[in-house]
Assembly symmetry: C2
Homo-oligomer: 236 residues x 2
């Protein structure tokens, strides 16, 4: 399963999507923040969007729910998850356990080809960041972490990182400061520098600092969950 550079192959057959593909598409839409937390994912709408039967959609939603990316309420339907502050804490705790080690392995195992891919990616991040394309910046920022997991060559941790990055995107959507981009690309540059020297320990340490930095820029004590958002909004 190569997820490295497969951006161009999903154009060919649009009429027969597997459920894994649908899950991946929804993952990306959530990372891009095109699907904000709380969005209703009705089966009929998704059937039309992907041109598949209801069964396929239903299975996809079940998979998304098992990754805690959507909430599945009985007889109510599927909604994009709205992580609580406690869940956000858990997600970052897990990321701090896993990703420094992933970065260490990736730094030690990176091929020259991987380094070129990373360099290319960082260029795109810079462009998005300085071009004030917030949506692109967020997506690329998350993709950087997934890229490291792919380079680390461990499908188990790759799947975990994908899930955690996606959930982080939801968390940033809820608890992030509105105007500020949360992933500084300077941090990513520093991590890449450690890759150049294949310094795994350095990469791990920088990743730890990076994740802590992201977490500190969240307002986890701020507004409550999305349900009371409406209440708060209209309380004037």
């Amino acid at each position: 399963m190569d997820t490295l550079g497969n951006a161009a192959e999903q154009v060919a057959r649009e009429d027969e999507l597997g459920e894994e593909e649908i899950v991946e598409r929804i993952f990306e839409a959530i990372i891009d923040q095109r699907l904000p937390p709380g969005t209703k994912l009705s089966e009929a709408a998704l059937c039309e969007a992907f041109n598949v039967g209801r069964m396929r959609i239903r299975q996809s939603l079940l998979l998304l729910a098992s990754r805690e990316v959507v909430d599945l309420l009985p007889n109510r339907g599927a909604f994009v998850a709205s992580p609580t502050a406690e869940q956000a804490r858990e997600v970052f705790e897990a990321r701090l356990m896993i990703e420094p080690n992933v970065a260490r392995l990736a730094a030690e195992r990176a091929t020259d080809d991987n380094l070129r891919t990373l360099e290319q990616h960082l260029k795109l991040e810079h462009v998005a960041h300085h071009g004030s394309k917030r949506r692109d910046a967020i997506r690329l920022s998350g993709q950087f972490h997934v890229l490291l997991a792919e380079i680390a060559a461990n499908t188990v941790t790759l799947r975990m990182v994908k899930e955690l990055v996606t959930r982080t995107s939801l968390i940033i959507g809820i608890f992030g400061s509105p105007g500020v981009s949360n992933c500084r690309d300077e941090d990513h540059d520093e991590i890449f520098a450690a890759f150049r020297t294949r310094d795994g320990d350095d990469a791990a340490r920088l990743m730890t600092d990076h994740l802590r930095h992201i977490q500190e820029h969240l307002e986890l004590n701020g507004p409550a969950e999305a349900a009371s958002d409406l209440v708060a909004i209209f309380r004037k």
Copy 2:
């Protein structure tokens, strides 16, 4: 609709298993090694076993497949996963990333109640171990790791540990030495000692050693996958 006597819905029909429950039951059966790798999980048989419709079973199998605990072959059905040596390596690499940190947090956060639960559990492990109840020993040994994850109080890592422990049970079934129990309970005792003093670093270090120890007792260069098991068995 009916406002008169709305208490009539209290009929005693609680025998409807949810798919999460079915998944949990199959997880446990795999940990107990009652379901060895390669076992065919036919939909009809599972329907009868759990007294549920085919749809429920189908969704459960999908969830199990998403956790890589069963292989889902198109038009062929579901089979208990037979991890390859490479997958085994990945699972242990992931466990070595996560579980030492889980042990650290658990040691630092354990309440006195948690300590009593652990102590009780270790007693059971000793009994099973010295009583030559291999199946119980394996199950309890895995449960110990899950217990630590529960004490760590992080639902994200708890789910990951559950999956990794289950997959490890499959790995031991394939690559483990037949007569030897793979989890020494002395290791668990030592980890528990670190819990008594709330020494997180010590718990993490001991967990790392423990996992390495388990991995070293596997024969990852030995027999190939289960498919060729039959060939090997009847070659005499």
